[in-house]
Structure formats: C-alpha cells, structure tokens
Symmetry: C2
Subunit: 334 residues, 2 copies
Amino acid sequence: MATKTFTEQELNDIYAFAVQLGKDAGKLLLEAARLRWNGENTPEAVEKDSSVDIVTKTDEVDVELFIKTSINQKFPDHAFVGEESYSKGAFRDYLISDSTPTWCVDPLDGTVNYTHLFPMFCVSIAFLVGGKPVIGVINAPFLNQLFTACGGRGAWLNETQRLPLIRNPIPPMPTNAPAGCVFSCEWGKDRKDTPGGNLHRKVESFLNMAAEVGGRAGKGGMVHGIRSLGSATMDLAYTAMGAFDIWWEGGCWEWDVAAGIAILQEAGGLITTANPPENPSTAQIEDVGLGSRLYLAIRPAGSSSTESGRQGQERTVREVWRRVRALDYNRPGA
Amino acid sequence: MATKTFTEQELNDIYAFAVQLGKDAGKLLLEAARLRWNGENTPEAVEKDSSVDIVTKTDEVDVELFIKTSINQKFPDHAFVGEESYSKGAFRDYLISDSTPTWCVDPLDGTVNYTHLFPMFCVSIAFLVGGKPVIGVINAPFLNQLFTACGGRGAWLNETQRLPLIRNPIPPMPTNAPAGCVFSCEWGKDRKDTPGGNLHRKVESFLNMAAEVGGRAGKGGMVHGIRSLGSATMDLAYTAMGAFDIWWEGGCWEWDVAAGIAILQEAGGLITTANPPENPSTAQIEDVGLGSRLYLAIRPAGSSSTESGRQGQERTVREVWRRVRALDYNRPGA
C-alpha cells in the first residue's frame, strides 16, 4: 500500500490539533498530580508504594483514553499506538506501519518521577507519516515547558523560543568531544547483577564517558557533566534544545521517543543507534530505527571553520561509539 | 563571643528581604541567560567552550556582587561568605563563625547547566545564626521554581505550596528502603581514573544502590530510580519537596548546601554525613557539619503503624551507609 501524503494545509491542521491535544493532556496530568498532593486523590493510596502505583496507572489510562478518543473522533482513519493500549496487547512486535498515518503516544513518560512528584514527567504525542515522526508534542506541565515541532516549521519551546536555544550562531560540537559535552543517560529498569548484563554494560559506558582523558585505557571521555532525569522523552527534548549534547540509551520504546525524534530532527539534531558498529571510525551513520530500542542522539550543531555541523555530529557519534558497550535489547518487527 | 539572637519580627524582616533578594538575583540570572540565547551577549563568546566559561564567570561575579552589596547596605554588621569571593581568597578553611550572623551565598549553582542552558541552575541564599542555616532561599528562574524557608515558618514552593508536597499524610519511608526510593547523586568533577579514588568509590556506591536486591553480595538496593541533575542545591530542594527520597554526595561546599539544608530541615528532612561510620547499624546519627563536604539527606517522612518518621529516616540512613563507600574529601576548620 502506498504511503498517504498530506498537503501543507492538512499538516498545519493536524499540527494545531496535536499541540492543543498536548496542552489538554498535560493539564489533565497536572490536575491529577495536584489532587494527589492535596490529599484529595484517595489519600490512603499514598501510604503504600503499591497503592501509589495503582493511582499512577489510573492516571495513565485516563489520559491515554482521552488522547485516543480525541484522535479517533477527529481522524477516524488514522492508526493509534499508545503505551497503555500496547501493554495490554498479547505480543511485543513493532506495530507501526509505513502505509497508515499513525499516532504514537505516551500519556505519561517519567512514571516514577510522576509518582514521586519530581517535575520531570510529560505527555508525548507524535504523528507519523510513512513510519517517520513528522509532528512531535511534548508537554511537561509541572515545568511549564511545551516542546513542539512539525516538519519544515521549526522546533519550539513554549511556541515562542525556537530550538536550539543558542542559535546566533548555533555552537559547533566541541573539537575534543565528548569532552565539553553534557552527557545524558539513564540507569533504567534492568538491574540484574549479571556480569556482562545491561546494568554492567551501562555503568562501564558511563564510567568511560566520565573518566579523565587518558584514563580507562584511552576511553576516558571527560564529559562536562552526566545527567539522568528518569525520562527518555525529556532527555530528547533537552537534546533538541541544545542543553544536552549527547543522549545515549537502550531499552525504551517508540512511544518514549517518537515525539522527541520529530522535535530533535526538526531542530537539526541527529539520532542513530546506541550500539557501536564493528568499525566505529568508518561505519555509515544511519538514521535510527524508531522501534529499535537503541538510541544515540546528538544536539543541533553549527559549522566551524573546519567542519560542517553534520560532520561535527558524526565525529561525536564515533567518539561515543568508541567508549560505550553494545546493549542487549531487541525487538521483533522493528 | 555570644551568639547574637533575633526577635521573631527581626527574623520576619530578614526573611522577607532574603526572599526578595532571591527573586531579584534569579531575574538577573535569567536575563543574562536570555541575552546569551538571543545572541546579544557577545555572540562570539558562544563559539568556544573557554569563552562560554568566561561569560558564565562574568554572570556569576555580577550576581554575587549584587547580592553582597544589597546585604551590606541593609545589614552592615552581618558577615558574608560567597562562592565567588571565597574562590578569590588565599586559603580553603571553613570561614563561617558561630558568633556572627552570616549570609552564605552561591550566586549560581549548576554552572555547567547554566552554560548549556539546561534549566537546573539556581541562586542559593542562606542566612545563618549560631553557624546554623535558619533561612534558605533557592530560586531556579528558568523553571519558575522558588523554594523558601525560615525556621518555624514552614518550607514552601513558590510561596504557596507547603513542602513536602504530599502531606495528607506525609508518606512514611518505604519499609524496604532504599527500594522504592528515588536516589539522587552526582558524578562531580573528580574524574581521576585511580583505583580507590573518588570516581570509582562513587560509581561502586551508585551500582550498589541500583542493583537488584540480593545482588552485589547483598548490597543491592534496587532503588526506584537514580537521578543526577548537576546541581547539589536543586538536589536538596527536591529532597525537601519529597520528590527525591535520598541525596548522597561528597565534594560540594557550604554555599551549595546552606540554603537547601535550611529548607530541607524546615520541611522535616534529615541531613547527616555521607560517609558510613564504623558501625552503620548502631552509630549515632548526627546533624551534618555544614562545611564537611559530605552529605546524606533524607526526605521528610511521616510515621507508619510501626515507626515514627524520624525512625524511618534513620533506618534509611543506615541502609544507605551499608551500601556506599566513604569518600575522600575533607576541610580545614569545618
């Protein structure tokens, strides 16, 4: 089946709808959070950790249902893939088709943050055409930060500040990257203490990125800082903003990253696979597979006197690949 | 010399002055940041990393000078210890006296974040009486989050929401803490790849906290999440808020933590030393030394049917001590 195409006007309308949907969904999330901290949302539920998880689950299901219903009413021929609906499904295959315009939604990214009321939680809404994220909306309501983008229309913070934030000029990647870079990464949920398991591979990679230049048998990256927010979606949003230079992660899912990828790419960022190829110095740097669960993003970069922005990004990708271990995540159908 | 005491009315006035000062200083920081992202703050300075650092240094010096001058005019007999002024001094001794009312100020905590425009930066203003933080003001202007506290007057977010946020009731510490806890920590600036050095001690501690229960030879803590924001001050503010359950850190200074300690303690949190004593199970849990550079903070906790909030906090302190390595930081005079 051929990929459906959209006129510029049709895309404008879908974009405006998506932004409003993100605002409304964010408001719902914040209202639910406020009920919790005012003790009005079943106060006994905050006494036990398991009960907190139940409260959160209800909030997620409610918000996803609101988003899904709104989309179905407005665009009955579009497909919908949501974190909550997907989790109820019987299998874990990648479901996004190239031929059907598809909405890919996480009603609540940063669930642990939301449970604890750490402000780094958000709703993530992406619209995909031909299997590629074209529109992205991320709303972090407790931070009053709304990130939006649509192909060819720029990426924006709160609809007024174009991304990346520093853009007169956009800084090139540091000449000695990853030194000088803020490196964003997550510990994730796989905590098995197995030698060679994902937890140990991650920690070894983090340590390589952190250590002094010359340390770690030449792998020391001496990054400017290491940040872990507990939300893949917010990590990507801040990479698009230019606040993070590098985001490296394995294990999350397409609804965690689809909106972020749309925003990052529209801002001028690059995203490819987290796992180093056989020859990091020469391998082709390809766009990431949306459902691959392995992501390496580089912020928008300007040119310097010696290289283009893209060249600086690719140089940085190779320097990260030299320092990280391949992670063990995979995905049927992606 | 005897410690000077203040009447409630005098403290009210100093508190109101400190809050306004924090608001004004935060505005200055955000204006300087906006100039940068609008390309109006010496655009050539964003091209090279070293130049960015120069810009940041100017911003820090300006904001500290503003704060110091405002305090000197209003309270000429109060002492002032600021990050910038201190760094220019000849030695690294702890300078806060028990006998003189003292302001302890970091004009910009999260310098790397500020340089990269990641929103987790703030101004931190503390007022100390008898060497103890009594008033704390933390303003993160890019997040629109202002944290304030004064002894006996409660701790507040944006002057309207009392801390901790969840308080009807305040949740007790999880029965299996550190499991169920959000653990906040920082990689810091000491990146020497020395076996037994601070970097390796930190990573080993982080890994113990992260790993599954039963892993790491019984030290696995299976925390709910690990967060690194790149700002000790914001870490403490979020611990006071209840968003982080545990903050463990070594290497920062009194101006990084003084305001945060005032806010955390007024909210009901506990703060002691990061370094485990000889017998973690039975050692007395003492209040932290402000200038000790070694900090372990636990969020405000409510009582359960089996223990008081304080008992739950102390139990959590001991469980953290069991899993972390002693860090190698010290301080003359503290």
